[in-house]
Subunit: 331 residues, 2 copies
DNA sequence: CGTCCGACGTTATACGTATTACTAGATGGG
DNA sequence: CCCATCTAGTAATACGTATAACGTCGGACG
């Protein structure tokens, strides 16, 4: 009771294995009669034939499979990137396998061995720092997500207009009268975060006082970092710009714990527009990032590169969504 | 400039391809001299040799790859299940590829074709209802997560002690004096949710009044459903038991919008203990589910089944975590 | 009437690996 | 001195598929 092969189908249909392959591969225009093609298909279904992917991949020398390298799937943003990439891939008969680069801990395993499959290409987020050097030495086509276009040898880049997002945030806060701003930045070293920091500093610099505090990307860490800031003596910031909704949620909690109202006493902005942004009270003013689109474009770019076509696209637009966590600066 | 094969390594090292395979496969104890083994390894690294996984899989007739079928990765619970499964898999030289069953929309694609790889087994969540029948007809070893052990032909089951979780919730609320309880249940039809509903009704039945409202698993849906309940005339519930932290977050928002304080006026409990549970204010009293353990056990079970060993384990324990969203029933 | 051609298939082969047999030389015991 | 045993490798093969190259058999056409 082993799995039927194309040869089994062939004998069942009374034809040769090659004919089976032609029919099932849809390459029989004018090479096989309609009648025998029907016989083959019938035999295949009654036997429950499924082609052996390993054999096919070996023969074709390509697996129609891409590796997506992300820092962690528990981050909703990357789960959505995967979703987008997988959708486009499916439309083209491709698959996507994940390599969630393990957080430093443990021996740095081989992303390619762990994929357990020959790969046609790689899509990597610049935030998956741990895995990037291991990927560098591979000869595979590479698409980078959210990374410095001048710094890597990737075949294509997919970037978000992060600086523009920061511009929208800044203008929003300035219009509300805020002049003392805290940047609650990510502790992760990554190009996307650097871009935001630079943009914020440049845009806000002439008009307002800016301070920066960094925290790991968890609610609890943001909470403690923010509590320290708010409890310190001296003039408090009236607005806090966060690199991530997760940080913003922590900032809001810290404010509440210290008896400050959001947004009456303190305005808070996030980034990403995760489900979290509308789960907390007040709902977060944040910058919506089209995460699925990032995945879609990444996969599209890889497909283009595999076809030998050049690929380039403008940065994906991002949009400030004003909700309830920002308001007029307190007098 | 094509990828080097084991034969290329062989000629570079001045040995036969078989020897290369033996050395690199660590099967050369007493069959190859230490010196030539060194030569082979050296040649392999200088050439940058990587074995062709497709060829290996074809030869071995096994891919050391499992398919994980889940409803959606954007649900943090399943992202964590994946993480756990992937960790155990990696420890055994296995890989995990995902099939996030698409939500009804679109043509029901073939999970196995989309996996783009030959598979050794399948781990499926009962919540991925859309894909389950497609999986049924495959001859692959199957491990079911959170499903009725009497209803499927799975080789192994991994379940959580959901009924016990509900017991803990119920006792906690009864001890706080609650006698009018609302069950905010998931609109998804799934065994795990049925189990909870039954347990809650049975445990609470004699001691308190119970009403049930169902809502899709989003904060917004829970919000509107809950608002309808709280705004309706008649006696309000004093506690709401939610099937999921997402629903609980929506319930809290609804309460707050209507001017009710949590937990002084209304107690709310969740389920899952997602990051969301500690991101909202007040932090949610909820039932912690060991999501990573579910993935780990699922993968361990599959590995055991593949070894021909029987596998069975008690339900994974779950723990009520009392935080700030529950309190004494109002007088 | 010879030949050419289209329709319908088949035969043979290669993809890169792991593994089973086999070989050739050296060593040692009786 | 001869056979058994061990060491250090090699030759050959199969996994299941896709496809290039090759028949074969009528009928049409010059």
């Amino acid at each position: 009771m082993t799995r039927p092969t194309s040869r089994d189908v062939a004998t069942a249909a009374g034809v040769s294995q090659a004919t089976v392959s032609l029919v099932l591969g849809d390459k029989w225009r004018g090479r096989v009669s309609e009648r025998t093609a029907g016989l083959v298909r019938e035999a295949a279904t009654t036997l429950g034939y499924r082609p052996n992917l390993a054999a096919r991949n070996l023969r074709l020398g390509s697996t129609r499979t891409a590796l997506l390298v992300v820092p962690a799937l528990t981050n909703e943003f990357f789960a959505r990137v995967y979703t987008g990439a997988a959708r486009i891939a499916a439309e083209h008969g491709f698959g996507v396998v994940l390599y969630p680069s393990p957080e430093g801990t443990g021996p740095a395993r081989d992303p390619f061995a762990s994929a357990r499959a020959a790969l046609d290409g790689v899509i990597a987020s610049s935030m998956a720092a741990h895995a990037l050097d291991a990927i560098g030495d591979a000869e595979l086509p590479l698409v980078m997500l959210d990374s410095d276009p001048t710094a890597t040898r990737a075949a294509a880049h997919v970037n978000l207009a992060m600086a523009d997002g920061m511009r929208q945030v800044t203008e929003h806060l300035l219009a509300l009268g805020h002049r003392r701003v805290l940047h609650l930045a990510s502790a992760v070293d990554s190009w996307t975060f650097d871009i935001r920091a630079e943009a914020l500093a440049a845009l806000l610099g002439p008009h307002a006082e800016l301070r920066t505090v960094r925290a790991p990307l968890t609610v609890a860490d943001a909470h403690t970092a923010m509590e320290a800031v708010l409890a310190a003596p001296g003039s408090r910031p009236t607005a806090v710009v966060c690199d991530d909704d997760i940080l913003a949620a922590g900032a809001c909690k810290a404010a509440r714990r210290l008896g400050l109202r959001v947004p009456e006493d303190l305005s808070v902005t996030g980034f990403d527009d995760l489900a979290l942004a509308t789960a907390v009270e007040p709902e977060l003013t944040t910058v919506h990032l089209p995460a699925e689109r990032v995945g879609e474009q990444g996969m599209s770019a890889l497909l283009a590169v595999l076809d030998g076509a050049p690929w380039t696209a403008p940065d994906l637009p991002v949009d400030l969504i004003v909700r309830a966590s920002t308001g007029l600066a307190p007098a």
